[in-house]
């Protein structure tokens, strides 16, 4: 028998690369009671890495412009480093900082990919007149030491994350040494928060445009929700806290307190979680804050407003957790509900922690999935609630633990109601299902479905045309299904949108052309999408498409989504969004005229190159369309209408949507007091064309 040496070991690629890191941030490694839980091992999906680390999704470039120096790049494939699960956590080693940002960034990316059922693509460099081959951004860049401030942000312009470091003036001098250096790149929550901004920008690039008070607040809250629940999905972190509960059955309070502690370790980054609860001044006990519906009506500052959403989701999580552990507590307390004095048994701790981690994982997945069901522009918290419910109903038929009710109840208690629905129930919150009633047979010809549900809102032609589009999308789905290379996915998708017009080969019209030819002036399609597919579009301040008839529109984020639910339900959807913009001149609450915006969205002139008239501003409408490839249906049309749907229904000349215009105008041109923060008031340039919105948002 010849001995097997490692060299000749014919193994498979390892599934993970284990990397040690902080579960919170370095300050907790200084406390005896938390040091044990602060060091955890991140299991990052294995990939080939260059020193940096530079992988498939991210590249860490450690340039410190404040001193004009590069720090040595870590090589995670180094034998010594591999042998010990990555570098030892250390504040004084910049190479560990690089490892930490990489580990957390990849963990977050994988959580998103798992929930969304597709590969993450970063937002492209579109709109900047770069050559087509330079549009695709393969890697997000991460600068762990980019500035000297208690700040970290995602730069949409540079597709980079910038992390700062600063000298601390700690509130508690026993934890941080005064004037010691604090690195934001060492905090799990900050890294997860920032990379979520980047991922969300890749799915909804217009969410950087503050068109209502919820938009920027949503960006902040969503990033915080991901950071928070990702944290809770590490069971080891929770065990420690649950151990401390001892006889107290109000374990949920401890989780709330923990959630807030995650956030406060570095400066006041955790202000978003203030709404979860507070320490009672008299009893010194942490208690959840009673939701106040007034807040959602009056609070306009993005962080404070975002904290309402964070608190709502957290409350939903607690209800879910409570219902999941009810049986365990009954067993452990012999049905009395009262635990014995003293430490609770370690097995129970394990089980409780696992239930909490599981619930956190579910909530995280629900929250992430929902972003596919959101409108492409102008999101409100109410839209997001509907998206959560709809996304969940699609994949989990049997909600036996009442997750959805937990969400609805938590939102309701905070006065967050979606626009335009009459009752607050699971069924009414779900976006209405569309049924076009046609499907393609195997030869590609259209035939009526037998089980037609008789949706009379659309006429037969429209239904048939939609079915043709559906067929085209199915081709797209078939082609993209097995492509793993993200670059190929990007360019193939692009081809399906714009079409393929190469010399010597048959021309293949893209989605843009197909929609345009079929629906340029279709009242039905206008009603469905809320967009100006109407013949008087030019009178409403919309440009004509440069290549086709009809109003110009943009197709965004065509994507194939494949998900498998807990009961084996499989979803095969193709999703894309449409947006349109119109130039409106607005005075004293009324439209006084229109102008056609420049084809270049960044220009500050009209289509003809004239300056934008006084009182003129751009107004956008948009719609997310979800097609089901299996049933061949257009399933949902989630719309922020640019036109007034009543004017269509009443058979009048189509008009623009005054309600939305007025709301956007009031928000963007209201009194300056409702700006983001004083930093923005002093150094910003209004809400239009914020090139670094997150740099402003994260100023404290």
């Amino acid at each position: 028998m010849s001995p097997i040496t490692p060299k000749s070991y014919i193994g498979k690629k390892p599934p993970f690369r284990k990397l040690r890191g902080y579960a919170f941030d370095p300050s907790l490694s200084l406390k005896l009671d938390t040091v044990a839980i602060n060091n955890i091992v991140y299991k990052v999906a294995w990939e080939t890495l260059e020193p940096g680390p530079i992988g498939e999704y991210v590249e860490v470039i450690d340039f410190d412009p404040t001193v004009g120096k590069f720090y040595r790049a870590v090589d995670l494939d180094d034998d010594y480093i591999l042998a010990q699960d990555g570098l030892d956590p250390s504040e004084s080693d910049p190479q560990f900082h690089q490892q930490m940002v990489y580990a957390v960034a990849m963990t977050t990316i994988k959580n998103f990919e798992r929930a969304l059922g597709r590969k993450i693509l970063w937002e492209s460099r579109r709109g900047l007149n770069v050559a087509v081959e330079d549009e695709y951004v393969q890697r997000l860049r991460i600068y762990p030491h980019a500035m000297r401030e208690a700040n970290a942000y995602y730069s949409p312009v540079k597709k980079s994350l910038l992390f700062g470091y600063f000298a601390s003036t700690p509130a508690d001098e026993t934890l941080h040494m005064p004037n010691s250096v604090v690195f934001t790149a060492l905090s799990h929550d900050i890294i997860a928060h920032e990379i979520t901004h980047a991922i969300l920008d890749g799915v909804h690039n217009y969410y950087n445009e503050a068109t209502n008070p919820d938009v920027l607040a949503f960006h902040e809250a969503f990033a915080d929700i991901v950071a928070l629940f990702q944290h809770f999905s590490f069971p080891d972190v929770l065990k420690h806290q649950i151990c401390k509960t001892r006889g107290d059955l109000g374990a949920q309070n401890l989780l709330g307190q923990l959630a807030q502690e995650f956030g406060t370790a570095v400066g006041d980054y955790g202000s978003l979680r203030d709404a979860i609860g507070e320490v009672d001044e008299e009893t010194k006990q942490w208690k959840p804050k009673e939701p106040n519906p007034e807040d959602y009506r009056t609070e306009m500052e993005p962080h404070a407003r975002g904290s309402i959403l964070v608190a709502a989701v957290f409350e939903a999580f607690l209800s879910i957790y409570k219902s999941r552990i009810a049986d365990l507590l009954r067993i452990a307390s012999n049905g009395t509900g009262i635990l014995r004095q003293g430490d609770i048994p370690p097995d129970l701790v394990d089980r409780l922690a696992n239930e909490a981690a599981k619930a956190a994982g579910h909530v995280l997945t629900m929250c992430i999935r929902a972003i596919d069901y959101c409108p492409p522009i102008d999101i409100t918290f109410g839209d997001y609630l509907r998206a959560i419910i709809t996304a969940d109903m699609d994949i989990v038929a049997d909600d036996n633990r009442d997750y959805r009710l937990a969400f609805i109840d938590a939102f309701r208690r905070r006065g967050i109601y979606p626009d335009g629905i009459k009752t607050l129930s699971v069924e009414s919150l779900r976006f209405p299902l569309q049924d076009i009633g046609y499907m393609a047979d195997k030869h590609g010809t259209m035939m009526k479905k037998y089980d037609e549900k008789n949706d009379h809102s659309l006429n037969e032609t429209t239904k048939e045309l939609l079915a043709i589009v559906n067929g085209f999308l199915r081709d797209y789905g078939d082609e993209i299904k097995y492509v793993n290379d993200r670059r190929k996915i990007y360019y193939k998708t692009r081809e399906y949108i714009t079409g393929l017009y190469e010399e010597g080969r048959p021309h293949i019209p893209g989605l843009h052309r197909r929609l345009n030819e079929k629906f340029a002036e279709s009242a039905d399609f206008a009603r469905l999408t809320g967009l100006a597919f109407v013949d008087n579009f030019a009178d409403l301040g919309l440009r004509q498409s440069s290549q086709y008839q009809g109003a110009s529109f943009q197709i965004l984020k065509l994507r194939l989504v494949t998900r498998v639910g807990p009961n084996g339900t499989q979803i095969n959807n193709v999703i894309f969004s449409l947006t349109q913009r119109s130039g409106v001149i607005f005075k004293d609450g009324e439209i006084t005229g229109y102008f056609r915006p420049n084809a270049n969205a960044l220009a500050n002139t009209t289509e003809s190159g004239d300056p934008i008239p006084e009182g003129g501003f751009e107004f956008r409408g948009g719609c997310t369309l979800i097609f089901d490839l299996d049933t061949q249906e257009l399933k949902y049309a989630i719309s922020k209408p640019i036109i007034d749907l009543h004017s269509l229904d009443a058979g009048q000349t189509p008009k623009l949507n005054m309600k939305r215009i007025r709301a956007q105008y009031m928000y963007q041109n209201g009194e300056a007091d409702f700006a983001i923060n004083d930093y923005f008031q002093f150094f910003g340039n209004g809400f239009h064309h914020m090139t670094e919105p997150f740099a402003f948002l994260h100023q404290h």
């Binding site: 410190d64 720090y71 080693d93 000298a167 500050n604 007091d673 910003g684 670094e692 404290h700």
Partner: protein
């Protein structure tokens, strides 16, 4: 008969010491507060009367965020006449141009003016026994120099962007937006620089000329100077019947950097005044060829050129971040600004007989306001065991609005909401014609304005209500109060208002 009684003590007094004469006369019971309308900035003269006689004249600050010496001239001329060439007390609240610039515009006026005594905050004391003032001054000097460096570097970057933008036709629209935003940022920096810096480069962060000059003049004239601490209660022999209760600046440095919570402590949240020591260091060494305060040991500095090659690769130019960190200058500027605001000498002038209070907080921000309530000496010294500060606020009948109606110059729960007096009136030194550009975004704060109008029942006198959506004069036209209460002084050509004056009786 009455004339005899009145005259008699005067004669006695003339023979004995002058000080004694005043104490024998009636106590001060009336005050006229005159706000000079120099443009956004403070310049006040308060005359205290006993019956019809002026007994005591004090002046608080002299500055505006804009204006040439010529612009100041008519106002200062009127002021000199009004005080009859002499003030009993000059108070300089803090070192911001909108409070001290006037002293440097025409120093001869202040050389001419007789000043009997001058008060500064303890933070200005070069011989502070604890050494705290010196420490703060050093820090302020460093921050100023750093900010000046950073602004210069930021403007250089802006110029470079212009050059870069010209050469790049394809992205002209995008570059225009970047330039617009950069310009807006510079406007913000300039706004804060206008009041915090002396406008000249490479001064190494020296004190502002207004502060420097008034101190020189006081020294030349050998004027008695007092540096005051919170908790001090000063009575002056020539101002009988009133007490000057000193509220701020706080002696605990934590309060100088403290931040309030929006909606509870202040109307809008302010920046956390985190120590910006690291960026200050980096800005100070901006012009050094070798910048060496690296936060790691030198072994970690890359020896090979691999990372640099990726960073500088031709296709990656758009992702470079060489200059992005310069925007820290913004938060540094705000910190410096708040820090100096919180060194404001804040005082409550209290009338012994009626307990009524005139509140002059300078531009104190939340940290300072909060510290007033924690002055140890004053614990349980108020009515019903309350803290004296709370009582003083309860009895305030006149409030000089802090920081020109901005979001951070008036505390909420620990400030305006405690001012319960029915007689409350306020003056705000805001004029949106004459203001540093970016201040317009924060002044006036709508919610504060609304609250003040309500509490003062319209008796809020603003230097100029230009561009106010909610005008206090619409609630109450001040001219209807009668000349004995409210008066405006016009310039010779009657085109401009030189001052607005509010008189309180029954004090």
């Amino acid at each position: 008969m009455t004339t005899q009684i009145k005259k008699a003590p005067k004669k006695v007094a003339a023979r004995t010491k002058r000080v004694a004469s005043v104490t024998l006369t009636g106590k001060l019971d009336r005050a006229s507060i005159r706000m000079y309308c120099l443009g956004t900035g403070d310049c006040f003269v308060i005359k205290f009367f006993s019956r019809k006689t002026t007994r005591f004249t004090m002046m608080i600050d002299c500055g505006s965020c804009q204006g040439t010496p010529g612009d100041y001239q008519p106002y200062l001329k009127e002021l000199l006449e009004y005080v009859n060439g002499s003030v009993d007390l000059l108070v300089v609240t803090h070192e911001h141009n909108d409070h001290v610039a006037g002293f440097a515009k025409d120093p001869s006026i202040f050389r001419e003016l007789e000043i009997k005594e001058a008060w500064f905050a303890w933070t200005e004391n070069p011989k502070d026994p604890n050494g705290h003032a010196q420490e703060l001054l050093t820090k302020r000097t460093k921050m100023r120099a750093a900010l000046q460096n950073a602004i210069t570097a930021f403007k250089d970057r802006h110029e470079n962007m212009k050059i870069g933008a010209g050469g790049d036709e394809d992205n002209s629209e995008f570059n225009r937006i970047m330039l617009d935003n950069s310009r807006a940022f510079i406007n913000g920096l300039d706004t804060l620089a206008t009041i915090n810096l002396d406008g000249e480069e490479d001064t190494g962060g020296k004190p502002l000329p207004g502060m420097r000059i008034i101190k020189e003049i006081l020294e030349e004239k050998n004027v008695k100077i007092r540096y005051l601490n919170p908790g001090d209660i000063v009575s002056l022999p020539n101002a009988p019947g009133i007490k000057f209760n000193i509220l701020g600046p706080p002696t605990n440095r934590d309060f100088i950097f403290k931040d309030g919570k929006a909606g509870k402590d202040v109307f809008q949240k302010n920046l956390t005044l985190n120590d910006s020591a690291l960026s200050v260091n980096a800005f100070l060494s901006l012009n050094n060829t070798e910048r060496n305060d690296v936060p790691f040991i030198s072994d970690y500095i890359a020896a090979d050129e691999a990372p640099e090659a990726i960073y500088n690769a031709s296709g990656n130019q758009w992702r470079k971040i060489n200059d992005d960190w310069l925007s820290s200058a913004g938060s540094l500027a705000l910190r410096l600004n708040s820090h100096i605001n919180n060194t404001s000498l804040a005082m409550a002038i209290e009338f012994e007989k009626t307990g009524k209070v005139l509140l002059f907080p300078g531009d104190a921000e939340y940290g300072s306001w909060e510290s007033w309530h924690q002055i140890k000496k004053w614990e349980k010294k108020g009515k019903d065991g309350k803290h004296l500060t709370e009582c003083l606020l309860n009895r305030t009948v006149f409030y000089k609005v802090g920081h020109h109606l901005s979001y951070n110059g008036t505390a909420l729960e620990k400030g305006i909401l405690m001012m319960e007096s029915e007689e409350l009136a306020a003056m705000a030194t805001l004029d949106r014609h004459r203001i540093a550009e970016k201040w317009k975004t924060t002044m006036p704060n709508k919610l504060l304005l609304q609250e003040l109008i309500k509490r003062c029942q319209g008796k809020l006198f603003v230097m100029d209500e230009f561009q106010f959506a909610n005008r206090p004069s619409h609630q109450l036209d001040p001219h209807t109060l009668g000349k004995k209460v409210y008066e405006e002084g016009l310039a010779e050509d009657e085109s401009t208002i030189l001052y607005k004056q509010y008189t309180i009786t029954n004090l």
